[in-house]
């Protein structure tokens, strides 16, 4: 679960991380009020679940309440990568010229089977870009997931990264970030930029936190952070069904049983000359109803021109899949051509059911390639 900057900061503050005072606002008037209350220069920052909002004009320094009002007018309602800005964070501004900007972040790293702490003296930049362009600029340190990061390790990382400022305070902030990750089950927790002011004190100017969905059951108090309107409506619906769903930008709806087979299905659709409209994993042992829901979901996507179903039935029975598809057809939900491959258990029964229905909308193929080719053909018509 991705969190907004203001939510991430609220959580990090619980662990002692120094962040500037800030308040959330939904209207330019509210923004002016907050700026007046703070009585100093503020920054107005769009709260949306995408990166690159700075470049998109979603972050504006404002010297006066009126300037803040003006900036809020520009930012609220703005579209950033397809998402509308509905609220802004108004924070006290720091004097950027009187300090330095660093990067620190923790991320789940499968290569070291734990979190990796990353620290870089070049803050403010997108870490993904830096990781590609100059990986050597990033100091990496594996966190022991049982002990967590210890101050002595944090100091060593800060020294190695060449951070200037109060070494103990900067190390403490890293330790707090590590505690937050381990106790809140973060996939990712980044402070970028980590600003070190003229006194050497570190301040988190931004916070990017992503929580492990598998662990949300033990953080019921964080569930209120979830904002359904900020997610793609289909992603919300998918999550209600328990599906793993990712919206993509093509025209072939793709569904399968298992992340690996769905990823391969994306590849196969690409090979067939079309683009997948989504990733949809319906999981193992799927019954007719689950397949029905999956088709309902994919059919709602207006980008979808054809549906490619790729099932390898081990636990999943082919006839159950067929039943789900047929139900969707009968209920009038299925209006786009379905091209599918269902291998494995009860394949013959599935074929018999489909023969009975005999609809041109539903075609079954022996291999995933034939099914994908047929789906691509329909989608590209």
């Amino acid at each position: 679960m991705k969190l907004h900057e203001y939510q991430g900061k609220e959580l990090l503050r619980r662990f002692g991380v120094n962040v500037q005072d800030g308040k959330i606002a939904y209207t330019p008037d509210e923004v002016r009020g907050i700026a007046q209350e703070f009585g100093q220069a503020v920054v107005v920052k769009a709260q949306v679940h995408v990166g690159g909002r700075g470049k998109a004009g979603g972050v504006k320094f404002s010297t006066t309440p009126d300037k803040a009002y003006e900036n809020a007018q520009k930012i609220l309602g703005m579209d950033i990568k397809g998402l509308t800005v509905k609220k802004v964070l108004v924070t006290k501004a720091v004097d950027i010229d009187k300090g330095v900007e660093y990067y620190v972040g923790l991320i789940v790293d499968r290569n070291v089977q734990s979190y990796t702490l990353m620290a870089c003296a070049e803050g403010g930049m997108e870490i993904e870009e830096l990781a590609v362009e100059r990986p050597e600029a990033i100091i990496r340190h594996r966190i022991d997931p049982i002990t967590g990061l210890r101050p002595f390790e944090a100091r060593a990382v800060a020294l190695k990264a060449g951070f200037k400022g109060n070494l103990n305070k900067i190390a403490t902030m890293m330790v707090q970030l590590s505690k937050a990750c381990l106790e809140l089950d973060c996939n990712l927790a980044e402070i970028n930029p980590l600003f070190v002011d003229e006194n050497g004190d570190p301040i988190a100017l931004d916070a990017k936190v992503d929580l492990d969905d598998n662990a949300l059951y033990r953080h019921q108090d964080l569930m209120h952070f979830r904002e359904l309107e900020a997610e793609h409506p289909l992603e919300i619906e998918a999550s209600n069904y328990g599906f793993a769903y990712v919206k993509l930008d093509g025209n072939v709806g793709v569904l399968g049983n298992g992340a690996g087979i769905v990823m391969t299905s994306l590849d196969v659709v690409n090979r067939a000359g079309a683009k997948p409209a989504n990733f949809l994993d319906i999981g193992g042992g799927a019954k007719a109803e689950i397949v029905f829901n999956a088709i309902k979901l994919v059919s709602k996507d207006s980008d979808v021109k054809a549906i490619f179903i790729n099932i390898f039935g081990g636990i999943t029975r082919a006839d159950e899949v067929a039943k789900g598809v047929i139900q969707a057809l009968h209920e009038g939900i299925l209006t786009k051509p379905v091209r599918m491959r269902i291998a494995g258990t009860a394949e013959e029964e599935a074929k018999a059911l489909l023969a009975e229905v005999n609809s041109p909308l539903i075609q079954m193929y022996a291999t995933m390639f034939e099914a994908a080719d047929a789906a691509a053909l329909e989608a590209n018509k």
Partner: protein, 300 residues
């Protein structure tokens, strides 16, 4: 003999009284696996499908020779079940459960590795965790410790198969069987970000196995397991390996379901994986059927 498990392997099921645990215990026994007992805390003393149920793994190991434990415990208790088995000294622990919190897995994997080192240094067989979020493993015709469909593993073959994905494993196994090849042992290492056993851990076992002639590796984008495997192959393997990578067309920076298949920076990209396999002279199939063609060319 194949690797890791065979017809003599004695297995316990942690979480045997749950729905999944019960169903798959039945399927494993139908396959021929020697399931000797189950463990469900608080239900000790019960008898389930003719098998004794114990309150703890230690109780089970005090009554039975246990070579392996398979875990169906729901996510909140899954990592604890792994640690219980590891502290009881069970040499092979297979975690099927999907959706275990990542932090739990980090801690469990680290602790199992530490216990493994201690166990090995005191002359033991070591302690290995496979999974979580994996389909388990199966030595065809001998022993299945997992949830894969029985029928595609009924007859022995000589191809070692390992995979990060469940359904793709079945698909590959079926293609191998249909081609008249079949699998020696299939190991589903699991698709979660943090898993107990990686490709590079399994490769030396296949290399040493007289019943395996070649290996099929089904990888995914994200992480660097494939790169590490390529490195191992280049430096240590004599047997041929054929690879497949799923998700090569997936967009960058998107997390694809539970697979943890996310590309960060220049790590885990299809390009880096292809380059690594090329350097190791490992052919990479573009499609699943192409795997079979390549393997056939190799094993004649």
């Amino acid at each position: 003999m194949a690797i890791l498990v065979n017809k003599d392997t004695q297995v316990i099921v942690q979480g045997i009284t749950g729905r999944e645990g019960a169903n798959h215990t039945k399927a494993m026994r139908e396959f021929g696996t020697q399931v000797v007992a189950g463990v469900t805390p608080g239900k000790g003393g019960a008898v389930h499908e003719g098998l004794p149920v114990y309150n703890s793994v230690a109780e089970a190991t005090s009554k039975h020779q246990v070579d392996c434990s398979i875990i169906f415990v729901p996510p909140p208790g899954a990592a604890d079940a792994v640690l219980e088995a590891a502290h009881a000294g069970i040499p092979l622990i297979v975690l099927i459960t999907e959706g275990v919190p990542t932090v739990d897995m980090m801690r469990a994997v680290q602790e199992v590795k530490a216990l493994n080192a201690v166990n090995l240094s005191s002359g033991g067989k070591g302690i290995r965790l496979i999974g979580g979020n994996c389909p388990g493993l199966v030595s065809s015709g001998e022993c299945k410790i997992g949830i894969m469909p029985n029928k595609i593993y009924s007859s022995k073959g000589r191809i070692g198969l390992m995979s990060r994905s469940g359904t793709l494993t079945y698909e590959a196994a079926k293609l191998l069987v249909d081609a008249g090849l079949g699998t020696s042992t299939t190991v589903g290492i699991g698709g979660d970000p943090i898993i107990g056993t990686t490709f590079a851990d399994v490769l030396p076992l296949f290399e040493a196995d007289p019943d395996t002639d070649a290996i099929v590796l089904i990888g995914e984008i994200g992480g660097a397991d494939e790169e590490a495997a390529a490195d191992y192959i280049q430096n240590h393997m004599k047997k041929p390996v054929v690879a497949f990578i799923s998700g090569r067309s997936a967009p960058k920076g998107k997390r694809m379901g539970h697979a943890g298949a996310i590309i960060m920076g220049n790590v885990g990209t299809p390009e880096s994986k292809l380059a690594a396999f090329a350097a190791a002279n490992v052919p990479v199939a573009d499609t699943m059927p192409e795997i079979i063609e390549m393997i056939k060319k190799i094993v004649g």
